[in-house]
């Protein structure tokens, strides 16, 4: 089993379009959407949900106002500005700001604060025409997306092992923080999708540093490389200098949006330039992944 994670740092560079294409190109795989915060891969893979599970990230503070003596100690100790004493002499807990540390409930002399399990998302095992698909939906405004990502990956690798499949293809989230680290850690390879813009280049460098920090072998590809060929050359030079294999240069192609609107992976029907380049990218990635094996 090999786990391939597709990340970018910057959002909107084309991670999901590429992940969907890989899902249709790879022969023996499980697909995992780890962008649990704003998942999109299901829009191209049309999953039939077979299992749905609730996910609890932790607890939230709940006030029993009948027991509260208004001493205000909870307000003092809460570091997340989640508890306030209102003008009407009541205590109010803001469950969106509560990070579930429980300190308020430990120190409350009247035992008026209870920690309750909070349901903060759902995760699914689905069937698609491309293979098994594990995905999730984080509750709105919830935290601990890293924990939900870990759950999705755990299930995907379990299915992969049980069915003796070759790859787990992981569509990762943008950024460099908690859900990205959860998507990345322990993967066999990270493919960084960048674009030839100053933001794209800056964000690529940061995410490659994160991958290096967690010792994940990394390759790179440039999406829409022809919107600024000069910047693309800069990326190529930088990758060469840092020994990051640059495996593909995908041209800007209106067919990409068209296939997204129609709801299928680009490589499935379209015979356009972008589709062809992504197929070659996949072949090259397979070779690199096989080398990583040795």
């Amino acid at each position: 089993m090999k786990q391939l994670v597709i990340i970018s740092g910057k959002g909107g560079t084309g991670k999901t379009v590429i992940s969907a294409a890989f899902s249709s190109l790879a022969s023996s795989k499980v697909i995992a959407d780890c962008d649990v915060d704003a998942a999109n891969l299901h829009l191209l893979l049309h999953p039939e949900v077979q299992e749905a599970h609730t996910f609890s990230s932790g607890e939230k503070a709940f006030l029993h106002s009948d027991k509260c003596t208004m001493c205000g100690e909870c307000v003092e100790v809460c570091r997340f500005e989640a508890i306030e004493a209102t003008e009407e002499d009541t205590i109010r807990i803001d469950s969106i700001s509560c990070e579930g540390c429980g300190v308020c409930s430990f120190i409350c002399p009247a035992q008026a604060i209870e920690m309750r399990d909070s349901m903060s998302g759902e995760w699914f095992v689905s069937h698609t025409k491309y293979g098994p698909f594990v995905h999730a939906k984080l509750g709105i405004g919830e935290e601990n997306s890293g924990k939900l990502v870990t759950q999705v990956r755990r299930k995907a690798t379990e299915i992969c092992t049980q069915n003796n499949l070759d790859y787990v293809i992981i569509d990762g989230p943008p950024g460099i923080g908690c859900p990205v680290i959860a998507s990345l850690s322990g993967a066999d390879m990270a493919l960084v999708v960048t674009e030839p813009t100053l933001s794209g280049i800056h964000d690529m460098k940061r995410i490659i540093e994160v991958a290096k920090h967690f010792k994940i072998p990394t390759a790179c590809c440039i999406n829409k490389y022809d919107i600024n060929c000069e910047n693309s050359s800069r990326i190529e030079a930088w990758c060469q200098e840092h020994s990051i294999p640059l495996l593909g240069k995908i041209p800007y192609d209106e067919e990409v949006t068209r296939s997204m609107v129609q709801g299928y992976p680009l490589t499935e029907h379209a015979k356009c330039a972008a589709s062809k380049e992504i197929q070659e990218l996949w072949e090259k990635l397979l070779n690199v992944l096989k080398k990583e094996n040795k």
Binding site: G12, A38, L43, G102, F106, G141, E142, C178, P196, H202
Partner: protein, 279 residues
């Protein structure tokens, strides 16, 4: 006024809108720009601020005084984030898991834990013409961006129009960024991905009770589902920007729309007028 720019989906043009709005207002209004996308802060490439001051961002994490510790295990029992593990004769502390709640230090019966500062990022302060600029940068390998976002927002200046560039998504970093805004602009694109993530962003803002409007970028790609959705749910579409190779090319080089197409300045000022009418 605090005005945040968010999106759900990444790469729809949040930074473009935030930066061009700031530059259009600048001169007539005092403006402060806060880049709260601390994982990947990009407004700097367009505003090109002169950085005048840097300041590290710390969170408080526990540190053990082994002489006092009886290894009773209370700290690890109360820690909701598994940031402490108590062994027979030692306590392991994992600062990257710690949320800095202070519970272990407060509740240790032997007072064997004290807090020390742990650096997770940096703030940079600067200016571009009359715009006051602040952004945060999360350190590589750090997981938790909300404390850095909070640190950026602590410096907000209520005497100015505060424009907040938020990160993509809908989870805690976004909530932290937009919380307390008087209005939010949601930037999207008319594709199925744009629509899906717009709907999530709308739910988030409704939960936070922040009034909002939508900007449709690259308005002529994809289909009309985003416009239909907005109409059906009475969500004001405050601006549309057509696909324009000149804008894409300027963006790639760190140039702004109003720099290459000055007629857009009026559109951004109109946008600001519409926002004021909606608040």
């Amino acid at each position: 006024m605090i005005l945040s720019v968010a999106s759900g989906k990444g790469g729809t043009g949040k930074t473009t809108i935030a930066v061009n709005l700031a530059l259009s207002l600048e001169g007539d209004h005092p403006v402060q720009f806060l880049d709260c996308d601390v994982e990947e802060p990009n407004a700097q490439f367009f505003l090109k601020p002169q950085i005048l001051k840097r300041q590290p961002v710390f969170v408080k994490v526990p540190e053990l005084d082994k002489d006092r510790c009886t290894f009773c295990g209370k700290c690890s029992k109360i820690c909701a984030y598994n940031a402490l593990a108590v062994l027979k004769d030692d306590v392991l502390i994992f600062p990257e898991l710690c949320h800095g709640c202070g519970g272990c230090t407060l509740l240790c019966p032997e007072s064997a834990l004290r807090e020390k500062e742990w650096k997770i990022g940096i703030l940079e302060f600067g200016s571009r013409d009359t715009i006051d600029f602040i952004h945060g940068k999360l350190d590589i390998g750090q997981a938790m961006s909300p404390p850095v976002i909070r640190a950026v927002k602590e410096h907000r200046d209520p005497s100015r129009i505060v424009i907040i560039d938020a990160p993509p998504g809908t989870s805690c970093p976004v909530v932290e960024s937009v919380k307390g805004s008087h209005f939010s602009l949601l930037v999207t694109e008319p594709t199925p991905f744009g629509l899906n993530d717009l709907q999530l962003a709308v739910e988030t803002l409704r939960l936070l009770k922040i009034p909002f409007g939508v900007i449709i970028n690259r308005a002529d790609i994809g289909n009309s589902d985003v416009a239909d959705y907005c109409q059906m749910h009475d969500i004001p579409v405050l601006m549309t920007i057509p696909t324009d190779r000149r804008i894409a090319s300027a963006y790639s080089e760190g140039r702004t729309i109003i720099e290459i197409l000055p007629s857009y300045k009026k559109k951004f000022l109109d946008l600001y007028t519409k926002i004021n009418e909606l608040i």
